[in-house]
Amino acid sequence: MKKLLISYFLLLISLAITAHPGIGIVKDSKGNIYYTDLKQVWKISLDGNKSAVVPGVHTHELYIDEQDNLYGEHLWYNGETKDTWGHYTWCLKNNGELVKEIKPTQGFLTNYSFVRDSAGNMYWVERFTTSRIMKKNKSGEITKITEGKFGFIGWLFAAKNGTLYFTENNKLHKLSPDRKSDSYRIETLAENLGSRSADFNVMGRNYTSYGIWTDAAENIYLAMIDSKKVIRIGADGKPETILGTNSLWLVCSGIFDDNGNLWVLENSPTNDVRARKISKQELARESIVNDATTKTHVLVTIIAGIAIVFLFFIAKFILVKRKQKLHVAI
């Protein structure tokens, strides 16, 4: 849970919605932001203008390469009679040309991913009883990076150097490539990501953490979807809240632009999507808000304590009066 009132409101207005928000938000080398709203892909230019650059595509993820070619997919359902899915992948070239990379195909995307490092290697998760994290290099060779009986693995994130980050239930793991051999080293960066809420169900799973991203200093950020906040994982593995919101919009993912401003991808209860810019200054103010939240908590607790003592004395006073009345009556 967390905000029960809000969650009930959410439930009321989104009963029929199967929530599975996207995490696709990327930036090109010029600083333009691209994001998916699951219906099309939007571009926010440096001057703030917003335009749909890839219309009519249902893609949860996006990838942009160093030449500013934008990649995504289109996934669709063929209706209850057929009960099948179809997909194709597309690329919006840096010259504005939109091409289909993988032609329309039945089923879901396999052996392909939008989680890529700067060398163009793709990474994806195969979620089974024994889950695997797979890699496909540019020449098309597929290798298994790691496998194990993990809990539910959330979205995968690849840093430019090929370091992978993923959440498993309430933990954050890092997979670092060993440059000498082809192996990867798994390391648990955080054991307790902090959210104890679980009112946000995504396809039957209780999600706490959602999108993962990093900043220029390689700090790790996580969108805690159901506690409506963004946390930063420090070197000690301790989560620190850097952004919290009380609105109905849920933070699903984010990215830092070249000026250090944070762009968050947010999803509404009615499945509207927006990209919101939080300036460096606003982020700094967030820590002040967090302090204020703690102070409010302390203050309310003290007031509750005082009210209890006050009520107890009222009760005692009334009882003494009543006893005196009884005594007089006797």
């Binding site: 209780n206 908590h297 309310v300 304590g305 009760a315 006893k323």
Partner: protein
Amino acid sequence: MMYFLSFLLSWLCGMLVILITAFYSYEQFSIIDITSFAVMTFVSFIVIFLVIYLLILKKINKKISGNKQFVYFPLIFSLLANLPVYFIIWRKVGDYYGKGEATLFTLGFLTSGFVFGLFWAWKNKMLSQRI
């Protein structure tokens, strides 16, 4: 008046325990969290107060007397009378809230029931004592 006071005092004690426990189990307990817990526990407590507590109180007030009330009243209200609430709380875990919230709700109601029982035992003792 005593019913109203016992209701308010019990609910507030439950809320206080929730607030204190939240310092240890929540990274941030915002005003929305506080309001949510306050409204939810208040509404639920009104319901069980009217439907269960008053009925049980009427029965056990006659059956249990003396200092035994200080033992049995808190136990009956915190454990027995709250059983339907505990059942509902833990049944809905994962749907509307997580285990952490369920634990807080349970602790809140446990405390409210305990204080309610203790309050009526104390009230009965106060009135039975000679000046």
